[in-house]
């Protein structure tokens, strides 16, 4: 297998949130105040870890635990992982986590007064196929209150972690659902300055992915940073 070592292209202005986002209170004491040091991509940034399903077992169905169905609206999420040049990213790992249908995480830190579901834990792991496609089954997560500001509610969302094939491609993001009235009020969603980049975080309802008499289908694609045409000088 050839390991690619070409550096990644710079991040496009406005496409990523600012770490200093005053409307999201937790950023206040956590964002660095010094400008980030721009460094050339070396073998450390251009290469990255590889995860295989043999070592990191896939968990493609979050909607069932111990043979029992979780409460909620069953969904199928399908999409593609490509880079900025449109090239598929095959066999890459996607980590998934989310709240249950009532808007409660199965996590000791979540004290929201909504019921836990004994048949839902809320973590998944899938791998893209040779053409970059992935799919998993879950239930639609509920909205939940948080304490960022008075009467603050997070829109329905699913968390994702992607690795790509280079350290500089690491992506941690959240997928939202179409038509959610909470999106216009959510400082985390609104932290992405560019409107088009922001709206790409919203999944599309897809009747072709929808399974008759079984589950609603959503399409959600990921774009990871693309590489420059020329490889590193000496890697």
């Amino acid at each position: 297998m050839t390991i690619e070592t070409a550096p990644f292209r710079p991040v496009t202005d406005g496409s990523q949130p600012a770490n200093n986002t005053p409307s999201y209170g937790s950023t206040l004491l956590r964002h660095p105040k010094q400008a980030a040091l721009r460094i050339p991509h070396t073998i450390t940034e251009a290469t990255g870890p590889a995860f295989t399903a043999a070592r990191f077992a896939a968990i493609p169905d979050l909607s069932v635990m111990n043979g029992r169905q979780a409460q909620g609206e069953r969904i199928i999420v399908r999409g593609r992982v490509v880079d900025e040049s449109g090239r598929a990213i095959p066999h890459t790992m996607i980590e998934i986590w989310q709240a249950n249908a009532a808007g409660r995480y199965d996590h000791p830190g979540d004290q929201h007064d909504a019921p836990l579901d004994p048949n839902f834990h809320g973590n998944g792991r899938v791998f893209t196929d040779a053409e970059g496609w992935y799919q998993f089954i879950s239930i639609k997560p509920g909205a939940y209150p948080w304490r960022d500001h008075y009467n603050a509610w997070r829109p329905n969302h699913i968390h994702y972690s992607l690795f790509g094939d280079g350290f500089a491609q690491r992506l941690i993001t959240q997928m939202y659902f179409p038509g959610d009235p909470l999106l216009a009020l959510d400082p985390i969603y609104l932290s992405v300055p560019d409107t088009a980049a922001r709206e790409r975080l919203i999944a599309t309802f897809d009747l072709d992915i929808t399974s008759p008499e079984w589950a609603l289908g959503y399409r959600f694609d990921f774009v990871l940073r693309g590489r420059n045409a020329t490889p590193l000088e000496s890697a």
Partner: protein, 173 residues
């Protein structure tokens, strides 16, 4: 051509995907110089950041079936993390420069809309003097925020400060 998907915070509930054994990069039987990396993460009020995911990636020793070269560890209530890994060696840098042994670090947490990237270097490495990344930092005190102290025969320690006095040097990559 489209632009890369926007990042969003990892939030406070990422532990749903955590597997604590990922903090031990030698768990698949890697052979080499076993070392321990410890550290803390604090915020602009010097309070511990107790809900972060710390990820490390090293380009030396090379990834293999026995060495994933990648690890993840939570910070605990004191903001502390701990990895077991193999000591990296020098790797090629731009031009003919050798890079000093280093470990790349990503910090992900509630309140960080993008992960923060930095590097850990090792105290007393001769190559630190000529490392092409360290050399970009003119201020000695700033540069020292990336140098882990040797605190035991096999253990190095790095304090990461997200903001304020002695703020760690973070990198745009």
């Amino acid at each position: 051509m489209s632009t890369a998907t926007a990042n969003q915070t990892i939030g406070p509930y990422w532990h749903l995907i955590e597997d604590p054994i990922w903090a031990d990069l030698t768990r698949f039987g890697a052979q080499g110089e076993r070392i321990v990396l410890t550290g803390t993460v604090t915020d602009g009020a010097a309070a511990p950041v107790s809900d972060a995911a710390i990820e490390i990636w090293q380009s030396s020793p090379e990834v293999s079936d026995s060495f994933p070269a990648f690890g993840r560890c939570r910070t605990d209530p004191a903001g502390s993390f701990r990895f077991v890994t193999l000591k990296p060696g020098p790797v090629p840098g731009p031009g003919n420069a050798q890079q000093a042994p280093h470990v790349a670090i990503t910090i992900l947490a509630r309140g960080l809309l993008n992960g923060l990237t930095t590097r850990l270097y090792f105290q007393d490495e001769l190559l630190n003097e000529t490392d092409p990344v360290l050399s970009l930092i003119e201020n000695e005190a700033r540069r020292s925020t990336l140098i882990a102290r040797k605190v035991a025969l096999d253990t190095w320690h790095l304090d990461i400060r997200l903001q304020g006095d002695a703020e760690t040097v973070f990198m745009e990559i």
